[in-house]
Amino acid sequence: MAEVTLRKIVKSYGALEVVHGIDLDIAHNEFVVLVGPSGCGKSTTLRMIAGLEEVSGGEIAIGGRVVNTLPPRARNISMVFQNYALYPHMTVRENLGFSLKIAGRPPAEIDKATDEAAAILGLADYMDRTPGELSGGQRQRVAMGRAIVRHPDVFLFDEPLSNLDAKLRTQMRVEIKKLHQKVKTTIVYVTHDQVEAMTLADRIVIMKDGHIVQTGTPLEVFERPANTFVATFIGSPPMNLVDGVVAGGAVRFAGDVSLPVPPAFRGRVQEGQRVTYGFRADNLMPAGHAMTGIGETAEIDLTIALAEPLGAETILLSELAGVEIQGKMYNPRPVAAGERLSCLLALDHAHLFDAETGASLRT
């Protein structure tokens, strides 16, 4: 059993505190993704779990054992680095077997373990090459192979795909997910790419400025964002946010436009309260192009400023109360700029946030 527990983890460099008391429980065999913009403390947190950074405060436990003062080699973890960190002077086989050799395992066992890892990752043909003779994707696989040969308690991934091109990234993403299904292990994965986070994670941990903003399954954070930061960070395109004031069961925006308070928020807002109205492009569509069974809707007339055809759908850019918003047209037809469309907003998927703090008004 290798659950990872963080208790009030603090990291500071001198007087500068970069991680402010993080609490996180990662279950055995869970795939957890730490995601956030650069500088949010996600990599630092991962490096503290690895033992590469000293913990300034709090407690880290792996499999119930507090590891704060243990060196990396005593934690039974392995890590895949952003730039692979393969040993350039060793062949693929030597790279894969290095940890076992250091541990003093017999050569026969090392060969067996490296061959096994090579088979899982399709590296068998490259065993005698050095890292310099491999492509980016192959290096990435060697880095993962090096991590799996030792059967660690926890896998740590530090932005492993950010050096790959878009196509290879998608491909490796699938491989990482398959790998997790094959070698059941606890995984902590750091990325700034919300698509990676959504597709890979059992549970997403969204971080900002050294704090955890929200923790939940990909669908939870997508459908019930805790605040406007999560709402705009998760999902593409980002959620539309328009400021307004609650007035008689509706939210009134500048320019005398109004939308009904979404069902989930009725009774949770007061007359005159200043709120931010949020909805995703997926839930705003021209009438006649709507999906069926989308529940309660509100109608708005929008002037289209720009249309971006993507093939299966077209992104429509428009303006609501002076704020640029995006909608989607499914089963698209050509749309001209300046065209006026009557659109439907699926209210079940709309959100209200506090205009001051940005926190969701759901709870």
């Binding site: 033992g51 060196p71 990396p72 080699r73 890590m79 730039n83 960190a85 250091i102 090096r146």
Partner: protein, 281 residues
């Protein structure tokens, strides 16, 4: 101009430049096989009339005329002093280079600047203070005295060269090795050291050649066969009124040979080291 012509021209120019650079050296080698009479003839005899090994026989005490110069002792002194000071300079310099490349500590840039500035002082300018200090503590005319001086001369350069190489080795590699189960010490020897090897090798060669060829300071600090090195021993060929040019040249050839062999052996590393250093600035 055709490609072949251009190539030939480049070769011709290269040959000319190399000739100018190498001529004094070639003249020394040539003179080592000639008699003093032929060397001193005026006008000069450009093409040697008869070559002889007598000068080398004399040095090694094999011929009829045996020189009263203890070449064996000088050679041994040179070897002991050069090897010891090189090993010390590489060990100390490598540790320093690694520390400068990897760790943050107060006064780091100042310390590095001081080390580099120490190289701007011509060694000979220190000969008088060194002589006085060494005579106080009894290091004059000892191998140890020379070893200490040569080590001090070589450490700054070794620090500078290896620092660049260690900086080039990504920090991630050491971290990956530690996660793979290495102690920091193992990570250094198994990953970082092999990757910086060409830099360390070239630093070692430079240190060795500096020590092997140094004359100015050694001529002040050494007195007898206990400590005199080969370059200092060259002066034994000068008497009050005569200079044995042929013997001196033969001895110079003997001095050059080990350095030459060493340079050829590690040429590959040396080139990697030098070009790297050039890029690194």
């Amino acid at each position: 101009m055709s490609r072949a012509m251009k190539d030939r021209l480049i070769w011709a120019v290269t040959f000319l430049v190399m000739l100018i650079i190498c001529l004094p050296g070639l003249w020394v080698v040539l003179s080592a096989f000639r008699t003093n009479g032929e060397i001193l003839t005026k006008p000069a005899v450009w093409i040697p009339q008869n070559l002889t090994l007598d000068n080398f026989r004399a040095i090694f005490g094999l011929g009829e005329n045996v020189l009263a110069i203890p070449v064996g002792s000088y050679f041994l002194n040179s070897l002991v002093i050069s090897v010891t000071s090189t090993v010390l300079a590489v060990v100390i310099g490598m540790s320093g280079g690694y520390a400068f490349a990897r760790h943050r500590f107060p006064g780091k840039s100042g310390a590095f600047l001081w080390l580099m500035l120490s190289r701007t002082v011509p060694g000979i300018a220190l000969s008088l203070p060194l002589f006085i200090l060494w005579s106080w503590i009894g290091l004059i005319d000892t191998k140890l005295g020379v070893i200490v001086v040569y080590t001090a001369i070589n450490v700054p350069f070794t620090v500078w060269l290896t620092e660049g190489f260690f900086r080039q080795v990504p920090r991630d590699l050491s971290e990956a090795a530690q996660i793979d189960g290495c102690t920091p010490w193992q990570a250094f020897w198994k990953v970082e050291f092999p990757l910086a090897r060409s830099g360390i090798a070239s630093a070692g060669i430079f240190a060795f050649l500096t020590s092997w060829n140094e004359y100015a300071l050694a001529s002040q600090l050494t007195r007898s066969t206990d400590s005199k090195t080969l370059p200092v021993g060259l002066m034994d060929f000068t008497a009050q009124f005569t200079i044995d040019w042929a013997g001196m040249c033969a001895m110079a050839v003997i001095i050059i040979i080990p350095a030459l062999i060493l340079t050829f052996l590690v040429q590959k590393h040396l080139i990697a080291g030098l070009t790297f250093g050039g890029v690194k600035g």
